[in-house]
Amino acid sequence: MKKILPILLFILAYLLIQSLILLRVLNPYWQQIIQFAGLMAISALGLNLIYGYTGQFSLGHAAFYGIGAYTSALVTKSYPHGGLPVFIASLIAAVIVVAIVAFLIGMPILRLKSDYLGIATLGFGIIIKVLFDNADAVIPSLGGSRGMVGIPKYTNLTITFILFFIAIIVIRNFVYSSMGRACISVREDEIAAESIGINTTKYKTIGFVLGSVFAGVAGVLYAHLYTFLHPSNIDFLKSIDVLLIVVLGGLGSISGTIIAALGWTFLLEGLRVILPAEILDWRFVIYPLLLIMVMIMRPRGLWGGVEFNFLRPKEYGRPATDK
């Protein structure tokens, strides 16, 4: 019974939102925000896997988000009236491309330690953005700095929920499997892990590739929600946004990441709704102040190391906390 209850709750949440939409209580503005929050959660779960669980400090997450988005958009634009099958094909294409790129860049880069890895991934992110800015010289429909228009709108609440659900299942099962435990050991103490025979390079790469794939999936959803892509969607400030969410939620906590992603999206939009016009420009003064206060009061993040019970398998006991 315990296992089924959370799944039922999840479905209930979905049905609730759908009915609110039908009843015209939730207008398209909020529908879009909910879907955006969902895809940010998927992206954040990916970074949580890379940084929270495997301890690899990556500042280039938005690059994979962008690669996934542009790849899938190219596919769906090439077959404009394909409908759902084309969308699924584009999703698969995006996943494959992101995985390959993540693997290729991960192999050399993951040797670097901590802050240097962060800088290298940041550099990688900027390189990708510059490449997309100039991409229209190679593939005109990518649009370059003009942006890519005309992407069909396939994302809807159902698809977002399904992918969100799959993301949670995948990451939760990964983290509590032996592969996940290997990743956590890499985070905790890489030398000790090596000395007991864990191939740290292999697991770092697996964590990195899988986490980046999540970002790619989020990118696919984004492209087909806003139907417009522009390289400014993937600059390093966007990578920092995802990092903020993951740290705020608490490293190594799936539920923390999800709640932080949803909370962050609604906080920013909420501030837009609440603030009167004259002080609209205070939105980004209030937001960082709140950020600083939260970090000083709860430096481990709001849910650092804590997990909702239904996500933890019964045999497990208390999960490993972050360092």
């Binding site: 503005y29 909020w30 609440i274």
Partner: protein, 377 residues
């Protein structure tokens, strides 16, 4: 916890819509924060002025206008969210916005899908009003001319009037307005017999152009075409003159700002640019506008303020003519507007929602801007 409370509070606030009042709701999307905040400020000031003026005169068909102002931070996602909020949350079906094409395009998608009418004040990328396949987005219009036109005006002026044969172009690779204008200028300049001896790009955050200018100096062009916003152009002009580059400089409507001479000083004197209007234009609309803006806000209006003012007045005029708040009726009225006298000229919309209007060529002198010529399409 606190987070959950916040979320629920925000959701509740969000879901409850305001009571219906007897007003006409018009929305504005502009970059009120972020790196082009100055353009957003001008746009907002002009929009507010137009709305206040009309309300003071009795409103539209007896109803007052209620203005909803939102910020897009010069970011495409924010622009789409802001537009969606205006339409769905605030109930405003008539939108003025935005400034950058990269924000106006996603905004136009939201407006078109929701059946709202949109006029962009300052976005010059053709794809704001037109879809990828060339079909028109029926509800979307703009108040400014588009880049292909502006580029060709500049090229013609350079070739015919200034008799320039070689030119070098500096453009911002990440800004589609600048890049588009550069490309259109280049195409028409070459078509007219000119030669492009340098085509160099920089990025938005660059302030050091020494490498590029040194390269350009080697090529020795007669003209340097820099179709960017005034702040970048001022920097480039100063550095170019410092390096001893004597080529005449030219640019687009982004050059228009009261700050340009202040920042660039002598470096920009003698350079030309295309613009939507000239503040020296003796037409009463222009003089009235310049004076009242200066009185209210303390500085002369730039092109962005002027275009925002015109865009707002156009929307209001269409609402008046349609005698209805039905977006489709307003949209039709807007499309049918002919020779409507605005500050920036006499406006008629073509089938792509772009205004058929003339451009002027201005020159920077030691004291300000001097009118040189008008070019009609």
């Amino acid at each position: 916890m606190i987070r959950i409370l916040c979320i629920s509070l925000i959701l509740v606030l969000g879901i409850s819509c305001g009571p219906q009042e007897n007003v006409i709701k018009v929305g504005l999307v502009a970059p009120l924060t972020g790196d082009v905040k100055t353009f957003g400020e001008s746009t907002k000031n002009a929009f507010t002025m137009a709305v206040d003026e009309v309300n003071a005169q009795g409103g539209i068909n007896g109803k007052q206008i209620k203005a909803y102002i939102t910020d897009d931070k010069n970011d495409p996602t924010e622009a789409a969210n802001a537009g969606s909020k205006l339409i769905n949350q605030d109930g405003a079906k008539f939108i003025i916005g935005s400034v950058a094409s990269k924000c106006s395009i996603p905004l136009s998608l939201v407006c078109q899908a929701a059946g709202a009418v949109m006029i962009s004040s300052a976005s010059t990328n053709p794809r704001v009003t037109v879809n990828d396949d060339g079909s028109r987005k029926s509800n979307i219009f703009r108040a400014c001319f588009i880049d292909p036109f502006q580029g060709s005006v500049a090229a013609k002026f350079a070739l015919d009037h200034l008799k320039v044969k070689t030119a070098a172009i500096l453009y911002d690779v990440g800004n589609d307005y600048v890049k588009g204008l550069a490309e259109f200028f280049m195409a028409d300049f070459v078509k007219g017999g000119g030669k492009i001896v340098g085509y160099e790009s920089y990025t938005k955050d660059d302030t050091d152009f020494s490498a590029l200018l040194t390269k350009i100096k080697e090529a020795n062009p007669e003209m340097l075409f820099v179709p960017d916003y005034y702040n970048k152009v001022a920097l480039i002009a100063k550095q170019a003159r410092q390096f001893g580059i004597k080529s005449v400089m030219m640019g687009g409507d982004g050059w228009d700002s009261p700050e340009m001479l202040k920042i660039a000083g002598d470096a920009i004197v003698g350079s030309y640019f295309t613009n939507h209007y000239s503040s020296d234009d003796p037409r009463p609309e222009v003089q009235d506008w310049v004076q009242k803006y200066e009185k209210t806000y303390g500085n002369r209006p730039d092109a962005l303020a002027t275009l925002a003012y015109d865009a707002t007045l156009l929307m209001i005029e269409a609402l008046k003519r349609a005698q209805s708040e039905e977006p489709m009726k307003v949209r039709d009225a807007l499309q049918q507007i002919r020779d409507f006298k605005c500050v920036s000229g006499s406006i008629s919309f073509d089938e792509f929602g772009n205004p058929i209007k003339s451009a002027v060529i201005l020159q920077y002198t030691k004291t300000g801007q001097a009118y040189v010529a008008t070019v009609t399409p």
